[in-house]
Symmetry: C2
Subunit: 925 residues, 2 copies
């Protein structure tokens, strides 16, 4: 009969695996967890290592002491489950008796369970889902011996002797899946000999040497011998030899094919382990971007549209872990914060997807708005809902985290509106995942450090100060890293305290802060108007060092701008170190690094770099991250979230982000500051307008929040619309100057007429828009923005011709003038003496080549909020110029910018309540 | 032959189940998820409902529309998986074709999968783990028909016709587990008739009417007919009748037993579904407290002991979800915050365990310390490590969340020390889960509201103010709940704005805050000394309403004391509403409710009520929750965490909590304020002392942080120890006055001598301590505190005789005097004129019957920090008395209490750093 050689076949299979590994390019990893040091286990593991390394796998031997606790074993396995470089994990059995073998083997994640021992994999095998399971190695080896030797299985009677969970049961199940009629025999089976006689295929796995003899067999049957028994043999040196459960000599003449022992099933086992590991690797190949399985959530719309919180409250929300999985995030990249929110590990995602091409990058901006706002956020969210839930595109929204000031103050929430919202809405408008808190605390720590430093310098001699800053530790003084950086900045090359001269010590120890130049203010995320201007240090303990200063709303902190503009943690830390908080009495800029606080600020902000994953009402993903104040900073969400989203959506996907204020401010900064810092190329601008706002620009009466809208806004008036559309046209022209196509979104209100809308469309197209379309996402969700989404898709097909508006090397005045003339349509700038002296100082200090972040009203193209439409010939006054050295921009002030809102007589907080029994929150929005 | 009636048997089984349900007392819940409205499904579900309700189950029919998305179905199932009242969940099949049946059925948690369809349950069945799996209902029904009719299975040949995943495969596996020799036949089986002829037991499940005929059978075999086929029958009204896969008439004469169709296997299915549901209920009965499976983490100790952060960094940490499971928390009660932290749902845990008896309650306190501290936190953590990891007791530590001020200021971290620490240490010392941030923001929102209110009242007429506070909405003005509460407080009974008189409107609208009486200060979690005294409102926008005020460190906020003393959310909200921030010009107390801000503060603090779960270095659990400032508040961790821990550990478990400062302050407040508010009974006090501190109390030289310790402290000096032990004795006596036994823990230092330790032991015992023992947990972890733990266990066996020290009805002065005489050992009090007038005011305002929270130095029993040992005859000066109406205590000030620490010349932040490449943090502690 044929001798079925496992030795030979396994060689063929191993060669095949090695070739596949080479072709794949990556390296499958196999980890074996061993507890204790049984000699037989050592031998098996050496064998596995050799085999794995020979085919090009990485092999990891996790060797734990025999006294290790179960908890430690489980935590090692958990680490391997989460280790991206490991495809397969197996636990070398047997385990010491103090460990629970079931618990330990079940803890291997089924997707890495290359031994096929977990209940999930066993269940999948039994149910016939062979593509999802891993079959344990010995059964799989038996099957391979049959299949690779072209021995038929279907319709044959297969008798399996022995019902262990490792061999008998799974092989019976596996042969049944290959259409054998299987009889599983065991110690309780009656008439065993006659059943064996029925077998076309006989699998012996009962651990009884030579149990099956030739006379039992049906002539021509196929015999696979799984038994490995050691029997005494005086003829061998070792005194024993290995035999199977089958009496080979008597059977080989009856059977048509038979496996020998050794050299039969045995060698197949390791080959199958390698095959399972390769399979696990192939299944687990890290997904590239774009590999989504998004399941949109259908809206249950009501008419009339209920309040935002009423809609949000009944919204069906996917668990955030499901959403993360749907958009191709790996479990290890997701840090849940409760049930509805998760921070996503930026460095892990960007490292995994580094070779992924970006998706399309869409910026939603608007014309100069009325004080009521024209629905930019709502449009951005409606647009992604349309792209993701209606056009089946991968689409990510990237939006800002709102300040809590407005939540309790005058405006209410900021999660979109109507049927275009981000949920969970309450968390969105409260603490979210704590980023603003971390930024507030870091900002205030720096402020406290500045004033404490002034106090300490004013009350101590040079020597005392130096000795305290560089204290003795076990009799030795030494500088730490941040102090060495300060020495180098001061041009001092020595590195040992003793080597410094008296005057070098003084220069090192004294920052000599010019208190009148301190620009670093404390912050709080509350609308606290009484903190706008304050005097601090009035306690006697501060020795009369009182100082005028004030608080800003937290999002106005430079640290928030730094977060939003950082590309990664190193970038963040460098920016923090460079942030300037004041000048010295000699006029030199003083940085957070000089203060010795860079590391502490970075530690406080470490988790803020991870964007928060949320979802729209239609179940599409949104990153919420960063929210720098649009009044004095750049008002855009974070670079990191956009970068992650651009990779995650894949090349054919869409990332929709929103720029604060009107296009003259938000969009200009998005291009000139944010895209310049990120290097990412925008593909399309969506310019949001309303009939109402255009009428206002056309000369309609004043619009005041809380007052009834004048009738001009609720009945057709084509003249007002036509006049006001000059504002729209200006912004379209501006966007085109950056080489980016524009789609105008006319955010629909009930009272708008078809003729008004049509007129706007015509004007927009003739001004250079690629498209212009009405959108009704507030009422209809994504369904109301499908046409808008289609036009965005079309616009994104154009080759991007993006360019920034000015070069950094130009003088500060020239850069400001370029923005004023090209974007605002003004005739020039008028620089105040204060601003002129600042420009001179900053240029001298080396900050001349920074981008410009204009601080101007958003209600007009000019600096005069009452100048509507498309004013011409105006001059922009530059009252002051300030520096954000860490954020890396200069911000000219064109008027008085409030950095701290106030509370009205009846603030939002009056209506916010929580029922302590049901936990239900009311009154938000 | 015997007719095996499923109709009869299922009745018997259902009656049995009904009896068991009644006996169990609880109500198993069965949920069926149906998508669409197939008529056959409707019929089956009605049948299941009737059967379930008849045996006393709750039945939930989740009926989703046929157009529902997969995501919605999954989210419904997820909700049922998490629903404690539901034991079993099944999905009614078939599903509409747009849904993935596999994904949907697999989403049922295997512990509720009473259909037995999930891979996990199928795998467990195949592996023979019948105690853990659920067997699907038809196979289980077949088995019951055999077993309950006493038909033998073991050793029989069982032939199964048909290999569906619902019947054939599982019945084959099940019969094999019951020791039949099973032949699983299917469409590819050859010689089917002859195989059928081998059957002792035949299961027919192939969907072919009358396929099996009598001539095929082995005489005397048992036939179970699973088939249900509709065949034409002109004799029936309906034109058809149901038949099985077996030709009943021809078979019944050959078989020894046979099931009819209908009335055979069919009726068994629903009975088995009920049995599985009851089984799921019994397995899932909500664990009571004490049912732990803790797996301690062994320490890998080094000598010498490395720095705290070095130890914490290499510590083996269990995933927080594993720890939660080990201590009997339900997954639905755990909200993970990243990998190492989780908030635990207080209301869910306390509701689930409401009938659980409390464990033993141990308070760790100390003698009056040196400025270096005597290791109270470290002892508390070492003690739980000893109890939990060495004495195998259920033991929970409940500790305070530290302020971030010290982390970056002068003291460093607070997570214990050496080998007795709580991890993850970096998170512990930073933001943790954001509670202090939430409290800070809520405190500052109230402060902003107070000043804004003063401004609005000062600039508006009564009418304008009233109209703004009660604005028109669609033409109608109405009061909201919080405004109605203010009306009632003012004695105004009307509920409609129009019904109020002019003067009532004015009284309602004007709080008339007396600015000089405002006690509510802003807070920040930074050591910012320049904010101790400040002037606010200096911007012109605030119209000259400047005011002197100041900032406290965040943990000094009354909201922190409220959090720590609240028993639940309702309690918290009530306390918030009652907090007094100032008096009106008429001298009436003004509350947060008057300000209209109770709801907003509660919403901001809603998540702070959930304690954060962490772990010790030895893997035992710790709650971190609350951290009221010990200087002016009660300095104890939260009541809620203690309550949860007392339930979770079970009756034989231990909860170890720590009271801030020395026993004269921390312990006294623990008893008189915290235990009074919670109603929980303490069982034991652990009083921590060191040889060093006793020597100081005996007259040893000054101990100054950062300076070398004088030699008296590092060499034996029995006289100093003996003299100083008077301080220890005083605290022992104090604890005994509360009826609580004391164990003294002598926290070991290397230079301590055996004779010194022995002397302390003797003095302690003679002063009334139940035990006194050396502990070396800093160096040895729990192993160093085993003897201490044993003595605590012994002390807790005593019947608690706990009583508070004073009754609330006593006059304020009397209560203060009781504390001074009984606890401090002073001769009396001296009340300043200011304090006297406050006492008068508070008594008049109705706050006379509050507990007393003394604000006194912790460095001496007296108010003089230099008076060491056991001073006598001293008088305690009461400089001022203040009110925390929400926290519900009065706090007399015995000296100048700093509520805002400062930064030193070289603060901790100087050394804190983060490597942006590795993410490694250095320099903390």
């Amino acid at each position: 009969s044929r001798i079925l050689s496992g030795t030979e076949l396994s060689k063929v299979i191993r060669t095949r695996i090695a070739a596949k590994v080479q072709a794949a390019g990556g390296t499958p990893g196999l980890a074996v967890v061993q507890v204790g040091a049984r000699e037989d286990s050592n031998v098996y593991i050496r064998m596995k290592r050799k085999a794995a390394e020979n085919v090009g796998f990485k092999f990891v031997h996790v060797h734990l002491s025999g006294t290790v606790t179960q908890s430690e074993v489980l935590s090692e396995i958990a680490a391997l489950n989460n280790d991206r470089s490991i495809s397969g994990v197996l636990v070398q059995l047997p385990l010491p008796s103090h460990l629970n073998e079931k618990t330990v083997t079940e803890s291997v994640h089924h997707s890495k369970d290359v031994d096929g021992f977990t209940s999930t994999n066993v269940g999948l095998l039994m149910k016939g889902d062979l593509k999802s399971t891993f079959v344990s190695c010995t059964p799989k080896g038996c099957l391979a011996l049959l299949q690779e030797n072209n021995l038929p299985i279907a319709g044959k009677v297969a008798v399996v002797l022995g019902r262990s969970n490792i061999v008998g049961r799974p092989i019976a199940s596996l042969l049944e899946k290959h259409n054998a009629t299987v009889i599983l025999c065991h110690s309780k089976t009656a008439n065993l000999t006659s059943i064996i006689g029925m077998a076309d295929i006989l699998i012996a796995a009962i651990g009884k040497p030579g149990f099956v003899t030739g006379d039992m067999l049906k002539p021509g049957c196929v015999v696979l011998d799984v038994g490995i028994n050691s029997v005494a043999d005086a003829t061998r040196k070792s005194g024993s030899r290995l035999v199977g459960d089958v009496n080979f000599d008597s059977c080989k003449t009856v059977a048509s094919a038979i496996t020998p022992v050794p050299g039969g099933v045995g060698p197949m086992t390791v080959a199958m382990l390698l095959e399972n590991t390769l399979e696990a690797y192939n299944r687990g190949v890290r997904p590239q971007g774009g590999d989504w399985k998004l399941m949109p959530t259908p809206l249950k719309k009501l008419d009339p549209v209920p309040s935002d919180i009423a809609i949000a409250e009944v919204a069906v929300q996917k668990p955030v872990l499901s959403l993360a999985e749907e958009v191709g995030l790996d479990r290890s990249e997701v840090l849940p914060y409760g049930m509805g929110l998760a921070k996503i590990d930026n460095s892990a995602v960007l490292e995994r997807l580094q070779s992924q091409k970006n998706g399309k990058y869409v910026c939603v901006t608007g014309i100069n708005p009325t004080p009521l706002g024209e629905g930019k956020s709502t449009t951005a969210i409606g647009l992604v809902q349309a792209l993701g839930a209606h056009l089946q595109k991968n689409a990510f929204a990237c939006i800002r985290q709102p300040s809590m000031g407005p939540t309790f103050g005058i405006k209410g929430g900021a999660a979109g509106g109507g049927y275009s919202q981000v949920v969970p809405m309450v968390d969105f408008n409260l603490h979210l995942t704590g980023d603003i808190h971390a930024i507030s605390l870091a900002t205030n720590l720096v402020a406290a450090a500045i004033d404490a430093r002034i106090l300490h310098e004013s009350t101590q001699t040079d020597t005392a100060l130096f000795n305290r800053l560089v204290p003795e530790h076990k009799g030795v003084r030494s500088f730490n890293d941040i102090q060495l950086r300060r020495l180098r900045k001061l041009g001092i090359t020595q590195s040992l305290p003793a080597e410094l001269s008296e005057s070098e010590r003084a220069r090192f120890a004294r920052l000599s802060i010019n208190a009148s130049t301190i620009t670093w203010r404390r912050v709080v995320d509350v609308n606290d108007r009484f903190l706008r201007e304050i005097t601090i240090g009035e306690s006697a303990t501060e020795k009369g060092l009182t100082r005028k200063t004030g608080y800003d709303i937290a999002v106005a902190s430079e640290l928030m701008a730094i977060l939003a503009l950082s590309n990664n943690l190193s970038d963040l830390k460098t920016r923090v170190s460079k942030a300037v908080f004041a000048s010295s009495v000699d006029g030199d800029p003083l940085t957070l690094d000089d203060l010795g606080i860079t590391g502490a600020v970075t530690v406080l902000m470490k988790d803020t770099l991870m964007p928060t994953l949320m979802q729209t009402l239609e179940g599409t993903p949104a990153f919420v991250h960063g929210g720098p104040f649009a009044n004095i900073a750049h008002g855009n969400s974070s670079i990191i979230a956009d970068k992650m989203a651009l990779k995650l959506v894949g090349e054919d996907g869409y990332v929709v982000t929103e720029a604060g204020f009107g296009a003259d401010i938000g969009m200009e900064k998005f291009f000139n500051i944010k895209c310049r810092a990120s290097g990412d190329i925008p593909n399309c601008v969506v310019l949001v307008t309303t009939v109402r706002a255009l009428k206002m620009h056309g000369g309609g009466p004043n619009v005041v929040a809380g007052k009834k809208l004048p009738s001009a806004y609720t009945s057709e008036d084509l003249d007002l619309v036509k006049l006001g559309s000059s504002n729209l046209a200006r912004h379209i022209e501006s966007a085109n100057k950056f080489g980016v196509p524009v789609v105008v979104a006319i955010n629909r209100f009930t009272s708008d007429t078809t003729r008004e809308v049509e007129l706007i469309r015509e004007i927009a197209i003739s001004a250079g828009a690629r498209g212009a379309v009405e959108a009704d996402h507030w009422k209809e969700g994504g369904a109301g923005a499908v046409e808008l989404a289609q036009q965005v898709v079309e616009a994104c097909k154009l080759e991007s011709d993006f360019k920034v508006l000015y070069e950094l090397e130009q003088p500060i005045e020239a850069k400001i003038e370029t923005i004023v003339k090209e974007i605002y349509g003004g005739s020039g700038i008028e620089i105040s003496p204060l601003a002129a002296s600042r420009i001179e100082d900053y240029t001298r200090q080396g900050f001349g080549n920074l981008p410009i972040c204009m601080a101007k009203t958003h209600l007009s193209l000019s600096a005069d909020p009452t100048a509507k439409g498309r004013p011409e010939g105006f001059v922009i006054p530059i009252r002051d110029v300030r520096l954000s050295a860490g954020a890396n921009f200069l911000y000219p002030l064109c008027g008085t910018m409030s950095t701290m809102p106030g509370l009205p007589t009846r603030p939002c907080y009056y209506d916010i309540d929580l029922d302590p029994v049901t936990g239900k929150i009311s009154g938000m929005m």
